[in-house]
Symmetry: D2
């Protein structure tokens, strides 16, 4: 066939296969989302519409990728966890990373209007992704803790920062300097004494992020003549 | 800091760096586009609106990724070529592959309505991507030939197949059987004698695909007091 | 410094890091050992001197690489198993594979005369090596079973083959044809009925291979004035 | 077959293939050679016997690996360069790195007595190896320059250091301090004025290292009846 002369170029492709029998995490991360949030006037410190849009995208990805056993989102990032024995795309790293991130990104634009009905999307967003193998459940658990601690630290900071700016009338620079090097309890105290905010009473979705898991659903598969039904 | 206990999980990340001083091709490929075309009643054998949408996405990607020196598209795939000395994202394979494919996918949804004003997008599309290094210009050139020959072979087949079905009234199965194992000249002859189509006169965009390159533009940077201008 | 102009070439080096928290197996394998055995008139089906030489090399490697928790040898191969938490050479695959295999090979020549005092080494041997990560103890266990089953199958075959040739007077080709496609019990029966050999009574080192493990050793660290000693 | 139950463990092996159409450098490096030289009382700053032993090993490796087009050695390291189109071991990195380094190491012990007839080898040496791809001849050339500049810098330093110690009666520490931060011309001057040594007249094998290349050899393949011969 005519194309055989050039087909040798396929040999330059190098496949990276994710180690079998490990949990695979694919983490998707917004690129340039600071500017993206500014451009679309996202609410500070958290925009619930954006969080629900991210969750909608993740649930779409999960519905089409049943090997994802759990996913966790916070801020502009989402982690998808493949079960140990997944053979998705032959565990080829590039294929898995690229398929999930491109689907997530196209969902983001597709579902935008459901969460921002009055605000048109100004430009198409961009995400990157990476995949990481974890050999034990303990490592995977620690991975999720790592992301959740990150969520907590950033959200506590942002909540305090924006309280100082929005309610306290501080300039962003002054707020930044005031918070520099402070520990959690200082921020909690500022929120409570200055703004009467008990951080722990804020919505969990802001403080802890979102988790998506599969729910077993009973489905009626047959209705018996006597009116009873068989479900599974 | 509180997160340090879990941060060890970062050590499980493995970076794959693309060999320096090589041309890097990132090829994006539609996943499940046969079904996608069916669902959206794309015209056969080629839907010009879809081709122009793909080209619009590719040009958006190029505008934001100036290290792409050239890109080539055909069917539901697009190849972006980074110049040899590109240091984009430190030449990290995952970062490059995922950023380009996610931007392409979100562009596809974003620009959809500009090319399909009367047809709403039914579901978000998905693409995969891979990166390949080519050490010489000759190898790169052969890569582009490989994709263009692929375009030619598929388009000649599809053009003949759909002529037989749409104009010749054949069933898809009969058309498939008639074409099985035929060479180019047989297909050219069928097109010419049965349907009065000279294949070589069909639009080049169908037969050869699309290439995007940078064009040097003279831009007025200063207007002199005497009315003349300085451009670069 | 003068060399800086060329130092950029270091950037072309690509490190492959073995996934943390996994068991790492480095398997060393003789290259061209069929010919090597012929050249040195090794005894058939097993040459005890060669086995003990291999074991000597492996124990030398283990003494210098205390992260090796266990090693297993059979035929012309040896597997070294690093403990999960080993940070040997920063878990760089090339460094680990090459250091172990080169030390093994130089030991092979160095210790040769201790096991073959009357036979001089005709030419330097060559081995290759590879490293594999196993995420669970079960996978590692199955790896060792895999190699041991390989040992058993080959040794049963070789024992029967050489009995037919050496004691039965068959030509190698006739022996090969006779054994083609036979199961274990057929070979056991040939050995027993024709040659009065009970395979299970043959030395375990031939049938099962060799395992090297660390042994806790009590060492006298102090002798008390009363003549008793303190050990650890 | 009995082993099939365990054979799944082979799937954990990951092959790294060296990019086609690039020059591959395999660099072998002595491990712990400072101590090795001390143990064997190597002459300072250079031991010619050791250099010739290294060269003998490299030439043995080249004879068995005809894809090596050139090799370069200095100090306790050796670089082997595979031609661009080599398909040695399917360009599998581990196989190439490990085979070459193990053969080199076993040669080192094997040929030891030819170069150190009066000195017995005290313990088996160890080397590591790595492979690097260079896409252009210019990159490869710069690689060789990099290693040769390294040879020059180290040799000039060592020559001056040992002149100060051996002929100048300085303590090693004093010599080290005297040379700290000095440029080439200072060292040249010390050698010339204090020890009457013109560095550029020292043997090139010390100053520049060793290169092994293939030499075309005319071989008589047929002798004609008239006494003339045909060679190729």
């Amino acid at each position: 066939m005519a194309c055989s002369k050039y087909e040798y170029v396929k040999k330059f492709e190098q496949e990276s296969i994710l180690l079998p029998n490990t949990y695979v995490v694919i983490r998707i991360d917004g690129r340039g989302f600071h500017k993206f949030c500014e451009s679309h006037n996202f609410e500070k410190p958290n925009d619930e519409r954006a969080i629900h849009l991210m969750n909608r995208c993740a649930s779409h990805v999960m519905e089409l990728t049943t090997d994802v056993m759990l996913s966790y989102g916070q801020s502009d990032e989402y982690s998808f966890i493949l079960k140990r024995d997944s053979t998705l795309f032959g565990r080829r790293a590039s294929k898995i990373e690229s398929s999930l991130v491109s689907l997530f990104a196209s969902c983001f634009v597709f579902y935008w209007k459901d969460f921002f009905p009055d605000l048109s999307l100004k430009y198409p967003p961009c995400f990157d992704s990476r995949s990481v193998c974890y050999p034990t459940f303990e490592n995977l658990y620690d991975y999720l803790c790592w992301r959740q601690v990150d969520c907590h630290i950033n959200n506590l900071y942002n909540t305090t920062f924006w309280a100082l700016v929005q309610q306290g009338g501080m300039s962003p620079l002054d707020a930044e300097n005031k918070l520099k090097g402070t520990l959690s309890n200082t921020k909690n105290e500022i929120l409570f004494t200055q703004f009467n905010i008990n951080y722990n009473n804020l919505p969990a979705i802001f403080r802890k992020g979102s988790i998506l898991i599969w729910k077993e659903v009973k489905e009626v598969v047959k209705t018996n003549p006597d009116g009873t039904s068989v479900s599974r």
